[in-house]
Point group: C6
Chain length 79, copies 6
């Protein structure tokens, strides 16, 4: 997972491809966590916990789905 530059991390919702849009949705999902828990050391400690817990993985997938809906609409579904 790449680190996110927090100065200008969201210049646009427009992406070239659906797959780029999905990656943006993943990024949008992670930033909320970062803003709520700004301490990188704490986040690094939590990561293996939820990455090994199926309930948490499904919940992450739910957040990504919600953000992907927004990004897809922004891009008029790349039609």
């Amino acid at each position: 997972m790449k680190a996110i530059d927090m100065d200008t991390w969201l210049p646009s919702l427009i992406t070239k491809t659906p797959q780029d849009g999905y990656e943006l949705a993943v990024k949008l999902s992670r930033v909320a966590v970062k803003l709520t828990q700004p301490d990188a050391a704490v986040r690094d400690k939590l990561r293996p916990e939820y990455a090994g817990d199926s309930d948490a993985l499904i919940a992450v997938s739910q957040v990504v789905a919600t953000n992907f809906a927004t990004v897809a609409a922004a891009n008029n579904y790349w039609r």
Copy 2:
């Protein structure tokens, strides 16, 4: 996290950039908590608990995603 002036905390859903819109979504997510638990001392005590709990962090990210969908639509996705 900046304190939120509760007199007129939501003059508009329109923001200049997507990133400002995301910050507004975070604010919208926090206000519901503030209205349900108005006691700042209780909220301050709860903060470290959920900021160190991955399930809670993912749930926060879900709320922000839902509010960001609204703000993004309001801004016609900053197209």
Copy 3:
């Protein structure tokens, strides 16, 4: 929290400002609880429990976010 007159508690989804719309979203979120648990004494007993529980506060914020999306769309985002 003001008591909600249940005779005609929802005359319209249209509000003057975004902030009024957010307050309507909070109201919409509370009415479902009231209809499911009509006994005010039970609700009053539950309140301090969830108001002191971060998971519950985040869940409340999720409901408000969902209702706010509806109210905001109804008001064409107060553009």
Copy 4:
């Protein structure tokens, strides 16, 4: 809570007022439960449990909010 006639319980999503629409959203939320647990005796036994549990009440409110979004859109927000 009134019993729901399951023969033709959903003739239309159109309602006269927003408040009627909200009541329809509550009904939509209950039917899924009824279809999954058709035994009225079991449902009656479960009712006091969740009606006295704040997490369950908030979850019910979330379902109603989701259904209300649909009913409100169907009615063009009663504008």
Copy 5:
């Protein structure tokens, strides 16, 4: 609950009535479970568990609500 023919189980999102649309939403909710747990014997064993658990019933109702939103939009709300 009727068995779902998995060869062509979703020919269209268009239904004659809102009630048919709701039933399609229930079907959509069940197929995801079926694809994740293809073993009918395991699903049959799980069924009484969640059908007797109010949290699970409310969660099922949430999934149906989300799918019903899609089916209703597809049918232009049967207006």
Copy 6:
């Protein structure tokens, strides 16, 4: 479950049929898990756990429902 080629796994949201669209929604739901837990061995170990847990199965169905809403909108509901 077929393995997902992660190089270009999402060329388009457009599908021929609603059923293909549903399968794409399932795929979208799985990729978020894959990106959060890239180790296939860990995912394989988690699979039987959640496939035998009704709460997890319902949560998976919720994610698929959210993604299906996006895919269906992208395809103008295959009208």
